[in-house]
């Protein structure tokens, strides 16, 4: 289900490839926008398609509650329900164990959630998660993993890692549609190199179509973050895609591509749009601020998205100070476009064998001087042979 193009950066671990999934191909490296509840926060499927998005995310926990797997199955799966003609990835519901930790309880059986909507209790077991994802019909499904926040230390981390392996096996056993849906494993182990290594050794023994690197992108330091990513990619098979969950910011994306990751997801671009923030190569623009009141330039002169083609910062500023939601849609469109365009540019540079130069240009634009680039990023890039100055 994933083909690695011959293009591989000869310096770093970056690779370019293509996912081959039933709805259609998807280029990697890829950023996957998050459409939690079968919608991309105010953007139509047509708009998302026009931006070049070929894979996006749905969330098993939320959809499992509302509208529920039976209804979605009647609607011809998640693709049919939201009328998305391209690829879909669903996560297992595991992350909600962390994000909704006060409403959840983990045992060997599974995760017990108390619904925030009606107080009802649901048990999300590996079997149940796969069952729901089978009904949703997404092209890539994720194992249910025992997720702990990256700031947790102690025996809980080890427990979660070993349990994730057991849950992976249960997911594989329960999976009813391996021919149509690709089940990915999720490497856990927190910030402990030994635990992570054990997890990698064990999980790579299982024949799954792809691997995700989980348990990161929480509250951990960036120094620890990149080391765990690098450790993971060094031990994952080269001929299968690597999905780094919950990443994110532009710099993180570029660095982690250099470290050998292929797929990413994050709510950041769509969420920050709804706060009036537009992503640009130099960071972001807080368009609600007064300085944009008479700024008649587009968000980004080089951006091909509909928002930048038609509208100015001043207009968006005025819209943000009105009582309708149009500004949020404009910014969501732009921010998704920004992320997708970034990934396209990264991929082109890998294919054209100039990825290290691309990285230097990118960092230069973002931080001004290479010396102003964050230490963790400089170190991470250096570890795979890319120097910035």
């Amino acid at each position: 289900s994933w083909v690695r193009l011959c293009e591989e950066c000869s310096r770093s671990r970056a690779r370019a490839g293509e996912l081959r999934l039933p709805p259609g191909p998807g280029a990697t490296p890829v950023f996957m926008p998050v459409g939690t509840q079968a919608t991309m926060k105010g953007i139509t499927a047509e708009q998302l398609d026009a931006l070049g998005c070929r894979i996006c995310l749905g969330n098993t926990y939320h959809l499992g509650l509302r509208p529920g797997p039976e209804l979605i199955q009647k609607a011809h799966g998640l693709h049919g329900f939201m009328n998305w003609p391209h690829n879909l990835l669903t996560d297992s519901g595991g992350f909600q164990m962390v994000s909704l930790v006060s409403l959840s309880e983990v045992t060997e059986e599974g995760v017990r959630f108390r619904s925030p909507y009606d107080g009802d209790e649901t048990l999300l077991s590996p079997e149940k998660s796969v069952e729901i994802q089978n009904a949703l019909g997404s092209d890539i499904i994720m194992q249910l993993d025992d997720v702990v926040s990256s700031t947790v230390t102690g025996p809980r981390v080890e427990e979660a890692m070993y349990r994730s392996i057991r849950w992976l096996d249960r997911c594989i056993a329960a999976h009813q549609r391996p021919d149509k849906q690709n089940l990915f494993a999720i490497i856990q182990g927190g910030l402990d190199a030994d635990l992570r290594t054990t997890c990698l050794e064990e999980m790579t023994k299982r024949d799954v179509p792809g691997f995700a690197i989980g348990g990161l992108s929480g509250g951990e330091s960036k120094g620890q973050f990149w080391r765990m990513v690098a450790l993971s990619t060094s031990r994952l098979p080269k001929d299968k895609p690597r999905y780094l969950m919950g990443v994110g910011y532009a710099t993180d994306l570029v660095v982690c591509v250099a470290l050998g990751c292929d797929m990413f997801d994050c709510v950041f671009p769509t969420r920050t749009a709804r706060f009036g923030s537009a992503l640009v190569p130099t960071g972001n623009l807080q368009l609600k601020k007064k300085q944009y009141e008479k700024d008649f330039r587009p968000i980004d002169n080089d951006c091909a998205c509909p928002t930048c083609q038609k509208h100015s910062r001043a207009f968006l500023h005025a819209l943000l100070h009105s009582d309708n939601t149009a500004a949020l849609h404009h910014l969501t469109v732009h921010n998704i476009a920004y992320q997708l365009q970034l990934m396209s540019a990264v991929r082109a540079s890998i294919v054209e064998k100039r990825f290290p130069d691309f990285v230097r240009d990118f960092m230069g634009t973002m931080y001004g001087d290479p010396t102003l680039c964050p230490t963790w990023a400089t170190e991470a890039l250096a570890s795979v042979g890319i120097t910035l100055s």
Partner: protein, 370 residues
């Protein structure tokens, strides 16, 4: 967004902007210099600038002999004729409603004195604005729409119409004719008398009237342009327009529709009030409420045969889900449908007028209005 707006078929050539939302941005627009149409990314649309937003009524008691106020998000903006014209100079709309005293409405029994004042003030504002327009090349490119006032006092209404018609206005806005069904007959009678006094070759606009049945009554009495806030209100309450305006359908379709209509009416509770974010309006019988549980598993489009983006791509079940989960997309899709449906209705009105079948259309709408 522009993208989603342009998927709507039958989009009118003219859009309405409100001074209440724009007045505060006067400075930025003046510096921009190229007018509001270009600023909002819609240079191809004709633009009409009204004083107020029909959906947000403004507090009374703020019109003086010298000024009128509008309410933006930042508060009250008081405008004398010269400030008003300065703002219009920055906006450069194709048409704009002239500064007027719109506080006297047909609804309340108005004192003759107050009605007379509304007419006098509005004429004075009009003359001042016309004079200021003369002095500016930019302003001369816009047409001023004269405003007919006078409350429910026939004499004053006629005076307002005759006097306004003497001025070189681009068209006429019939103000203060909105109201509840109880006073409808009186209002419509006044309306007929007013339009009879107006020249045939200039457009007549009316504000505050947007419901399909009321629209038809006004068209019969000589009105040409309407505000499109009704589909917006329908959207805001999570509803979709489903009324039929196909006054010459084939027999099978008629049967299907009649059965459909009866089914919908059975479920609609006339006095049901649905609280929404921006309007506490009652749901009408022209629409269905997608939040209702019965749509949870309804995989039909909102309206069978509708060619809007929402109906061509999505189901009632999906819209229901989006509403229940408070997703932004619900409003986007519903607005696309409701606009297309509403503009389709107006298209059928024009067709009916051309083929002299307005009575049939009116009967069809009347049947669905109860």
């Amino acid at each position: 967004t522009h993208q989603t707006l342009h998927t709507i078929h039958g989009l009118p050539a003219m859009a309405q902007l409100t001074l209440s939302s724009l007045a505060e941005h006067h400075e930025a627009l003046a510096e921009y210099k190229e007018g509001i149409g270009k600023f909002i990314g819609m240079p191809e649309l004709l633009l009409y600038c009204s004083l107020h937003d029909p959906v947000s009524p403004c507090p009374a008691g703020y019109v003086t002999n010298k000024s009128v106020s509008v309410w933006g998000l930042g508060g009250r903006v008081e405008m004398t004729a010269s400030k008003f014209m300065a703002i219009q100079q920055a906006l450069q709309p194709d048409w704009f409603q002239c500064l007027s005293d719109g506080e006297v409405n047909c609804e309340e029994a108005t004192s003759i004195k107050r009605a007379r004042k509304s007419v006098d003030r509005s004429l004075l504002f009009l003359d001042n604005c016309l004079r200021l327009q003369e002095e500016s090349e930019v302003l001369r490119r816009s047409a001023i729409i004269g405003v007919i006032e006078g409350g429910d006092v026939m004499e004053e209404r006629l005076r307002s119409a005759r006097e306004t018609a003497k001025r070189p206005v681009g068209g006429f806005l019939l103000d203060g004719f909105q109201g509840n069904p109880a006073t409808q007959e009186t209002r419509l009678h006044l309306l007929s008398s007013v339009t009879a006094e107006l020249p045939e070759d200039k457009p007549r606009l009316i504000c505050g009237v947007s419901r399909p049945d009321e629209v038809l009554e006004c068209i019969e009495r000589g009105v040409d342009l309407f505000e499109s806030f009704f589909p917006y209100q329908v959207t805001e309450r999570g509803c979709a327009l489903t009324f039929s305006f196909d006054y010459q359908p084939n027999p099978e379709e008629t049967l299907l529709q009649q059965n459909g209509i009866q089914e919908e009416i059975k479920y609609v509770d006339q006095t049901k009030k649905i609280k929404t974010t921006s309007c506490n309006q009652e749901m009408t019988s022209f629409e269905i409420n997608l939040k209702e549980k019965k749509y949870q598993e309804d995989f039909d489009p909102l309206v069978r045969g509708c060619s809007c983006y929402c109906c061509k791509n999505h189901t009632r079940a999906y819209i229901h889900h989006l509403l229940v989960t408070n997703e932004l997309l619900a409003g986007v899709l519903l607005m696309m449908h409701n606009f297309e449906h509403y503009f389709g209705f107006f298209h059928s009105i024009r067709e009916a007028l051309k083929s002299d079948r307005l009575a049939q259309l009116k009967e069809l709408i009347r049947r669905q209005a109860s």
